[in-house]
Subunit: 205 residues, 2 copies
Amino acid sequence: MLLCDIGNTSYHFLDGERDYKKDVDTFDASSIVEKVYYICVNSEVNAVLESLNNWIDISLFIDKSQYYKTMGIDRIVAVEALSDAVIVDAGSAITVDVVKNSHFLGGFIYPGVEAMQKTYINISPALDYSFNFDLDLDIMPKNSQDAISYGFLKTLYSEVIRHKLLVVLTGGNAKELQKIFKDAKVDERLIFNGMKQIIKKAKLC
Amino acid sequence: MLLCDIGNTSYHFLDGERDYKKDVDTFDASSIVEKVYYICVNSEVNAVLESLNNWIDISLFIDKSQYYKTMGIDRIVAVEALSDAVIVDAGSAITVDVVKNSHFLGGFIYPGVEAMQKTYINISPALDYSFNFDLDLDIMPKNSQDAISYGFLKTLYSEVIRHKLLVVLTGGNAKELQKIFKDAKVDERLIFNGMKQIIKKAKLC
Protein backbone atom coordinates (compact mmCIF):
# COMPACT_ATOMS: atom_id res chain seq x y z
CA MET A 1 0.00 0.00 0.00
CA LEU A 2 1.34 3.41 -1.02
CA LEU A 3 0.49 6.34 1.26
CA CYS A 4 1.21 10.02 0.66
CA ASP A 5 0.98 13.02 3.03
CA ILE A 6 1.26 16.19 0.96
CA GLY A 7 2.26 19.46 2.58
CA ASN A 8 3.05 22.90 1.22
CA THR A 9 6.54 21.93 0.09
CA SER A 10 6.69 18.16 -0.42
CA TYR A 11 4.97 14.86 -1.15
CA HIS A 12 5.85 12.52 1.73
CA PHE A 13 5.42 8.88 0.65
CA LEU A 14 5.30 5.71 2.73
CA ASP A 15 5.79 2.56 0.69
CA GLY A 16 5.64 -0.38 3.09
CA GLU A 17 8.36 0.49 5.61
CA ARG A 18 10.27 2.93 3.40
CA ASP A 19 9.43 6.64 3.39
CA TYR A 20 10.74 9.29 0.99
CA LYS A 21 9.94 12.83 -0.11
CA LYS A 22 9.43 14.57 -3.46
CA ASP A 23 9.32 18.30 -4.12
CA VAL A 24 5.83 19.65 -4.93
CA ASP A 25 7.29 21.94 -7.58
CA THR A 26 9.01 19.23 -9.61
CA PHE A 27 7.26 15.92 -8.90
CA ASP A 28 4.81 14.65 -11.53
CA ALA A 29 2.00 12.86 -9.69
CA SER A 30 0.78 11.21 -12.93
CA SER A 31 4.08 9.29 -13.11
CA ILE A 32 2.68 6.91 -10.48
CA VAL A 33 0.38 4.25 -11.87
CA GLU A 34 -0.41 2.25 -8.73
CA LYS A 35 -3.08 3.26 -6.23
CA VAL A 36 -2.02 6.05 -3.81
CA TYR A 37 -3.99 6.90 -0.67
CA TYR A 38 -3.32 10.53 0.19
CA ILE A 39 -4.12 13.60 2.24
CA CYS A 40 -3.14 17.05 1.02
CA VAL A 41 -3.08 20.56 2.55
CA ASN A 42 -1.80 22.12 -0.68
CA SER A 43 -4.75 23.41 -2.72
CA GLU A 44 -2.81 23.57 -6.03
CA VAL A 45 -1.67 19.97 -5.74
CA ASN A 46 -5.17 18.94 -4.68
CA ALA A 47 -6.62 20.30 -7.91
CA VAL A 48 -4.18 18.16 -9.94
CA LEU A 49 -4.77 15.00 -7.93
CA GLU A 50 -8.55 15.19 -8.27
CA SER A 51 -8.15 14.45 -11.97
CA LEU A 52 -6.04 11.32 -11.36
CA ASN A 53 -8.17 8.22 -10.75
CA ASN A 54 -5.49 6.21 -8.94
CA TRP A 55 -4.96 8.95 -6.29
CA ILE A 56 -7.53 8.44 -3.53
CA ASP A 57 -8.24 11.33 -1.18
CA ILE A 58 -8.91 9.63 2.15
CA SER A 59 -10.10 12.90 3.75
CA LEU A 60 -13.45 12.09 2.12
CA PHE A 61 -13.84 9.07 4.43
CA ILE A 62 -13.47 10.94 7.73
CA ASP A 63 -16.42 12.07 9.84
CA LYS A 64 -15.43 15.73 10.24
CA SER A 65 -18.32 16.76 12.48
CA GLN A 66 -16.11 17.30 15.55
CA TYR A 67 -13.49 19.37 13.67
CA TYR A 68 -13.63 22.87 12.19
CA LYS A 69 -13.71 23.91 8.57
CA THR A 70 -10.24 25.50 8.24
CA MET A 71 -8.46 22.84 10.32
CA GLY A 72 -5.63 21.21 8.36
CA ILE A 73 -6.35 17.63 7.26
CA ASP A 74 -2.94 16.55 8.65
CA ARG A 75 -4.04 17.68 12.12
CA ILE A 76 -7.36 15.86 11.76
CA VAL A 77 -5.67 12.61 10.70
CA ALA A 78 -3.23 12.83 13.63
CA VAL A 79 -6.16 13.25 16.05
CA GLU A 80 -7.97 10.31 14.40
CA ALA A 81 -4.89 8.16 15.13
CA LEU A 82 -5.08 8.52 18.93
CA SER A 83 -7.69 8.35 21.68
CA ASP A 84 -6.01 10.18 24.60
CA ALA A 85 -3.07 12.51 23.93
CA VAL A 86 -1.75 15.97 23.34
CA ILE A 87 -0.39 15.84 19.79
CA VAL A 88 2.46 18.25 19.09
CA ASP A 89 3.25 18.37 15.36
CA ALA A 90 6.41 20.46 14.98
CA GLY A 91 6.90 21.71 11.44
CA SER A 92 6.83 25.24 9.98
CA ALA A 93 4.11 25.78 12.58
CA ILE A 94 3.75 23.76 15.78
CA THR A 95 0.17 22.55 16.01
CA VAL A 96 -1.03 21.29 19.39
CA ASP A 97 -4.23 19.23 19.49
CA VAL A 98 -5.91 17.64 22.48
CA VAL A 99 -7.87 14.39 22.18
CA LYS A 100 -9.55 12.72 25.16
CA ASN A 101 -11.67 9.56 25.01
CA SER A 102 -11.40 9.83 21.20
CA HIS A 103 -13.05 13.25 21.39
CA PHE A 104 -11.27 16.27 19.88
CA LEU A 105 -11.21 19.03 22.54
CA GLY A 106 -9.57 21.68 20.34
CA GLY A 107 -6.11 22.84 19.51
CA PHE A 108 -3.82 25.76 18.89
CA ILE A 109 -1.11 26.90 16.51
CA TYR A 110 2.31 28.06 17.70
CA PRO A 111 5.21 29.17 15.48
CA GLY A 112 7.73 26.50 14.43
CA VAL A 113 11.41 26.49 15.45
CA GLU A 114 12.67 28.24 12.31
CA ALA A 115 9.85 30.80 12.22
CA MET A 116 10.39 31.73 15.87
CA GLN A 117 14.15 32.02 15.40
CA LYS A 118 13.54 34.56 12.62
CA THR A 119 11.05 36.43 14.77
CA TYR A 120 13.60 37.09 17.53
CA ILE A 121 16.29 38.15 15.05
CA ASN A 122 13.85 40.57 13.41
CA ILE A 123 12.98 42.12 16.78
CA SER A 124 16.65 42.83 17.50
CA PRO A 125 20.02 41.62 16.19
CA ALA A 126 20.93 41.33 19.90
CA LEU A 127 18.55 38.31 20.00
CA ASP A 128 20.36 36.42 17.21
CA TYR A 129 20.99 33.20 19.14
CA SER A 130 20.05 29.62 18.25
CA PHE A 131 17.65 28.04 20.75
CA ASN A 132 19.10 26.07 23.64
CA PHE A 133 17.08 22.83 23.73
CA ASP A 134 19.15 21.64 26.72
CA LEU A 135 17.70 24.49 28.77
CA ASP A 136 16.72 23.68 32.37
CA LEU A 137 13.03 24.66 32.41
CA ASP A 138 13.01 24.89 36.21
CA ILE A 139 15.43 27.82 36.29
CA MET A 140 14.43 31.34 35.25
CA PRO A 141 17.02 32.51 32.69
CA LYS A 142 19.79 34.99 33.42
CA ASN A 143 21.35 35.23 29.96
CA SER A 144 20.04 36.27 26.53
CA GLN A 145 20.20 32.87 24.79
CA ASP A 146 18.27 31.16 27.56
CA ALA A 147 15.87 34.13 27.81
CA ILE A 148 14.66 33.59 24.23
CA SER A 149 14.86 29.77 24.47
CA TYR A 150 12.69 29.85 27.60
CA GLY A 151 10.34 32.38 25.93
CA PHE A 152 9.84 29.99 23.02
CA LEU A 153 9.94 26.61 24.77
CA LYS A 154 8.81 26.97 28.38
CA THR A 155 5.64 28.86 27.47
CA LEU A 156 4.71 26.05 25.05
CA TYR A 157 5.70 23.41 27.61
CA SER A 158 3.65 24.93 30.46
CA GLU A 159 0.52 24.94 28.32
CA VAL A 160 1.02 21.44 26.83
CA ILE A 161 1.67 19.59 30.10
CA ARG A 162 -1.28 21.34 31.80
CA HIS A 163 -3.59 18.81 30.10
CA LYS A 164 -2.01 15.88 32.02
CA LEU A 165 -2.14 13.58 29.00
CA LEU A 166 0.47 11.61 27.08
CA VAL A 167 2.39 14.01 24.81
CA VAL A 168 3.00 12.62 21.31
CA LEU A 169 5.57 14.47 19.19
CA THR A 170 5.64 14.29 15.41
CA GLY A 171 6.90 16.44 12.50
CA GLY A 172 10.38 17.51 11.43
CA ASN A 173 11.43 19.01 14.79
CA ALA A 174 9.97 16.24 16.99
CA LYS A 175 13.38 15.04 18.18
CA GLU A 176 14.55 18.53 19.15
CA LEU A 177 11.36 19.08 21.14
CA GLN A 178 11.81 15.75 22.91
CA LYS A 179 14.76 17.31 24.76
CA ILE A 180 12.18 19.57 26.42
CA PHE A 181 9.26 17.14 26.61
CA LYS A 182 11.27 14.37 28.27
CA ASP A 183 8.29 12.07 28.91
CA ALA A 184 6.85 12.47 25.43
CA LYS A 185 6.61 9.74 22.82
CA VAL A 186 8.06 10.52 19.40
CA ASP A 187 6.00 9.06 16.56
CA GLU A 188 7.32 10.26 13.23
CA ARG A 189 4.76 8.11 11.42
CA LEU A 190 1.72 9.30 13.36
CA ILE A 191 -0.01 10.74 10.30
CA PHE A 192 0.65 7.60 8.24
CA ASN A 193 -0.68 5.50 11.12
CA GLY A 194 -3.79 7.69 11.24
CA MET A 195 -4.22 7.28 7.47
CA LYS A 196 -3.97 3.48 7.78
CA GLN A 197 -6.67 3.47 10.47
CA ILE A 198 -9.00 5.55 8.29
CA ILE A 199 -8.39 3.28 5.29
CA LYS A 200 -9.13 0.20 7.42
CA LYS A 201 -12.26 1.71 8.99
CA ALA A 202 -13.61 2.78 5.58
CA LYS A 203 -12.69 -0.66 4.17
CA LEU A 204 -10.86 1.00 1.26
CA CYS A 205 -8.51 -1.94 0.85
CA MET B 1 12.74 66.85 37.36
CA LEU B 2 13.06 65.73 33.75
CA LEU B 3 13.32 61.98 33.12
CA CYS B 4 13.99 60.21 29.84
CA ASP B 5 13.69 56.51 28.89
CA ILE B 6 15.38 55.99 25.52
CA GLY B 7 14.56 52.98 23.38
CA ASN B 8 15.50 51.92 19.88
CA THR B 9 13.03 54.27 18.23
CA SER B 10 12.19 57.13 20.63
CA TYR B 11 13.13 59.33 23.56
CA HIS B 12 10.30 59.01 26.10
CA PHE B 13 10.29 62.02 28.44
CA LEU B 14 8.47 62.57 31.73
CA ASP B 15 8.33 66.20 32.81
CA GLY B 16 6.43 66.32 36.10
CA GLU B 17 3.13 64.67 35.19
CA ARG B 18 3.38 65.18 31.43
CA ASP B 19 5.01 62.57 29.20
CA TYR B 20 5.90 62.88 25.52
CA LYS B 21 8.03 61.17 22.90
CA LYS B 22 10.67 62.33 20.39
CA ASP B 23 12.05 60.35 17.46
CA VAL B 24 15.64 59.16 17.95
CA ASP B 25 16.46 59.94 14.33
CA THR B 26 15.44 63.60 14.43
CA PHE B 27 15.62 64.80 18.04
CA ASP B 28 18.66 66.89 19.03
CA ALA B 29 19.51 66.01 22.64
CA SER B 30 21.78 69.07 22.98
CA SER B 31 18.71 71.30 22.53
CA ILE B 32 17.83 70.59 26.19
CA VAL B 33 19.75 72.73 28.66
CA GLU B 34 18.24 71.55 31.95
CA LYS B 35 19.35 68.40 33.77
CA VAL B 36 17.94 65.14 32.30
CA TYR B 37 18.10 61.83 34.17
CA TYR B 38 18.05 59.05 31.62
CA ILE B 39 18.39 55.38 30.78
CA CYS B 40 19.14 54.26 27.23
CA VAL B 41 19.19 50.91 25.38
CA ASN B 42 20.25 52.55 22.12
CA SER B 43 24.06 52.42 21.82
CA GLU B 44 24.27 55.17 19.16
CA VAL B 45 22.26 57.60 21.27
CA ASN B 46 24.26 56.61 24.34
CA ALA B 47 27.50 57.67 22.64
CA VAL B 48 26.03 61.14 21.94
CA LEU B 49 24.63 61.61 25.46
CA GLU B 50 27.93 60.76 27.14
CA SER B 51 29.36 63.99 25.75
CA LEU B 52 26.52 66.12 27.17
CA ASN B 53 27.13 67.13 30.81
CA ASN B 54 23.48 67.83 31.67
CA TRP B 55 22.37 64.29 30.65
CA ILE B 56 22.90 61.99 33.63
CA ASP B 57 22.95 58.25 32.99
CA ILE B 58 21.31 56.79 36.09
CA SER B 59 22.28 53.22 35.11
CA LEU B 60 25.65 54.05 36.68
CA PHE B 61 23.98 54.24 40.10
CA ILE B 62 22.42 50.76 40.10
CA ASP B 63 24.01 47.75 41.80
CA LYS B 64 23.94 45.35 38.83
CA SER B 65 25.37 42.32 40.64
CA GLN B 66 22.08 40.36 40.51
CA TYR B 67 21.48 41.04 36.79
CA TYR B 68 23.28 39.78 33.68
CA LYS B 69 25.51 41.68 31.30
CA THR B 70 23.29 41.76 28.19
CA MET B 71 20.05 42.46 30.13
CA GLY B 72 18.36 45.66 28.91
CA ILE B 73 18.61 48.60 31.35
CA ASP B 74 14.84 49.17 30.97
CA ARG B 75 14.18 45.66 32.35
CA ILE B 76 16.60 46.25 35.23
CA VAL B 77 14.95 49.56 36.17
CA ALA B 78 11.50 47.95 36.09
CA VAL B 79 12.69 45.20 38.44
CA GLU B 80 14.28 47.81 40.73
CA ALA B 81 10.85 49.48 40.99
CA LEU B 82 9.11 46.47 42.59
CA SER B 83 9.74 43.94 45.35
CA ASP B 84 7.31 41.10 44.48
CA ALA B 85 5.89 40.82 40.98
CA VAL B 86 5.99 39.33 37.53
CA ILE B 87 6.72 42.30 35.27
CA VAL B 88 5.39 41.98 31.73
CA ASP B 89 6.73 44.75 29.50
CA ALA B 90 4.90 44.48 26.18
CA GLY B 91 6.67 46.33 23.39
CA SER B 92 8.40 45.06 20.22
CA ALA B 93 9.37 42.16 22.46
CA ILE B 94 7.48 41.09 25.59
CA THR B 95 9.96 40.78 28.44
CA VAL B 96 8.84 38.88 31.52
CA ASP B 97 10.87 39.34 34.72
CA VAL B 98 10.25 37.80 38.12
CA VAL B 99 11.17 39.62 41.33
CA LYS B 100 10.54 38.13 44.79
CA ASN B 101 11.52 39.76 48.10
CA SER B 102 13.38 42.37 46.01
CA HIS B 103 15.49 39.59 44.51
CA PHE B 104 15.61 39.17 40.71
CA LEU B 105 14.87 35.49 39.94
CA GLY B 106 15.39 35.78 36.17
CA GLY B 107 13.31 36.51 33.13
CA PHE B 108 12.51 35.63 29.55
CA ILE B 109 11.84 37.27 26.22
CA TYR B 110 8.74 36.55 24.13
CA PRO B 111 7.82 38.16 20.80
CA GLY B 112 5.65 41.29 20.90
CA VAL B 113 2.13 41.51 19.46
CA GLU B 114 3.19 42.95 16.10
CA ALA B 115 6.19 40.61 15.70
CA MET B 116 4.07 37.53 16.44
CA GLN B 117 1.35 38.64 14.04
CA LYS B 118 3.94 38.83 11.25
CA THR B 119 5.32 35.42 12.23
CA TYR B 120 1.97 33.68 11.70
CA ILE B 121 1.36 35.45 8.38
CA ASN B 122 4.83 34.43 7.17
CA ILE B 123 4.15 30.78 8.08
CA SER B 124 0.99 30.74 5.98
CA PRO B 125 -1.38 33.32 4.46
CA ALA B 126 -4.12 31.09 5.92
CA LEU B 127 -3.04 32.39 9.37
CA ASP B 128 -3.52 36.06 8.49
CA TYR B 129 -5.86 36.94 11.36
CA SER B 130 -5.55 39.67 14.00
CA PHE B 131 -5.32 38.30 17.54
CA ASN B 132 -8.52 37.88 19.52
CA PHE B 133 -7.75 39.41 22.95
CA ASP B 134 -11.29 38.58 24.09
CA LEU B 135 -10.46 34.89 23.77
CA ASP B 136 -11.76 32.59 26.53
CA LEU B 137 -8.53 30.98 27.77
CA ASP B 138 -10.42 28.11 29.38
CA ILE B 139 -11.69 26.76 26.07
CA MET B 140 -9.44 24.96 23.57
CA PRO B 141 -9.93 26.68 20.19
CA LYS B 142 -11.92 25.28 17.32
CA ASN B 143 -11.30 27.99 14.71
CA SER B 144 -8.18 29.43 13.07
CA GLN B 145 -8.26 32.93 14.62
CA ASP B 146 -8.59 31.56 18.13
CA ALA B 147 -6.00 28.84 17.39
CA ILE B 148 -3.29 31.45 16.74
CA SER B 149 -4.56 33.80 19.48
CA TYR B 150 -4.41 30.95 22.01
CA GLY B 151 -0.98 29.91 20.68
CA PHE B 152 0.33 33.41 21.27
CA LEU B 153 -1.53 34.39 24.45
CA LYS B 154 -2.41 31.29 26.48
CA THR B 155 1.13 29.90 26.36
CA LEU B 156 2.43 33.22 27.73
CA TYR B 157 -0.40 33.36 30.28
CA SER B 158 0.15 29.81 31.59
CA GLU B 159 3.83 30.53 32.25
CA VAL B 160 3.31 33.99 33.79
CA ILE B 161 0.61 33.02 36.29
CA ARG B 162 2.56 29.92 37.35
CA HIS B 163 4.68 32.18 39.58
CA LYS B 164 1.64 33.10 41.75
CA LEU B 165 2.73 36.74 42.07
CA LEU B 166 1.11 40.08 41.22
CA VAL B 167 1.37 40.62 37.45
CA VAL B 168 2.35 44.17 36.50
CA LEU B 169 1.86 45.15 32.85
CA THR B 170 3.72 47.99 31.20
CA GLY B 171 4.78 48.99 27.66
CA GLY B 172 2.79 49.95 24.57
CA ASN B 173 0.56 46.85 24.50
CA ALA B 174 -0.12 46.71 28.26
CA LYS B 175 -3.81 47.51 27.90
CA GLU B 176 -4.39 44.85 25.24
CA LEU B 177 -2.71 42.24 27.43
CA GLN B 178 -4.86 43.26 30.40
CA LYS B 179 -7.81 41.68 28.59
CA ILE B 180 -6.01 38.36 29.08
CA PHE B 181 -4.37 39.05 32.46
CA LYS B 182 -7.57 40.19 34.13
CA ASP B 183 -6.08 40.45 37.64
CA ALA B 184 -2.97 42.31 36.49
CA LYS B 185 -2.11 45.90 37.37
CA VAL B 186 -1.29 48.21 34.46
CA ASP B 187 1.50 50.67 35.29
CA GLU B 188 2.48 52.61 32.20
CA ARG B 189 4.96 54.64 34.27
CA LEU B 190 6.71 51.69 35.89
CA ILE B 191 10.10 52.52 34.37
CA PHE B 192 9.84 56.20 35.33
CA ASN B 193 8.89 55.15 38.87
CA GLY B 194 11.91 52.86 38.98
CA MET B 195 14.11 55.70 37.76
CA LYS B 196 12.78 58.01 40.51
CA GLN B 197 13.56 55.40 43.16
CA ILE B 198 17.12 54.99 41.89
CA ILE B 199 17.64 58.78 41.83
CA LYS B 200 16.33 59.04 45.39
CA LYS B 201 18.44 56.14 46.65
CA ALA B 202 21.58 57.53 45.02
CA LYS B 203 20.71 61.04 46.36
CA LEU B 204 21.16 62.51 42.90
CA CYS B 205 18.70 65.31 43.57
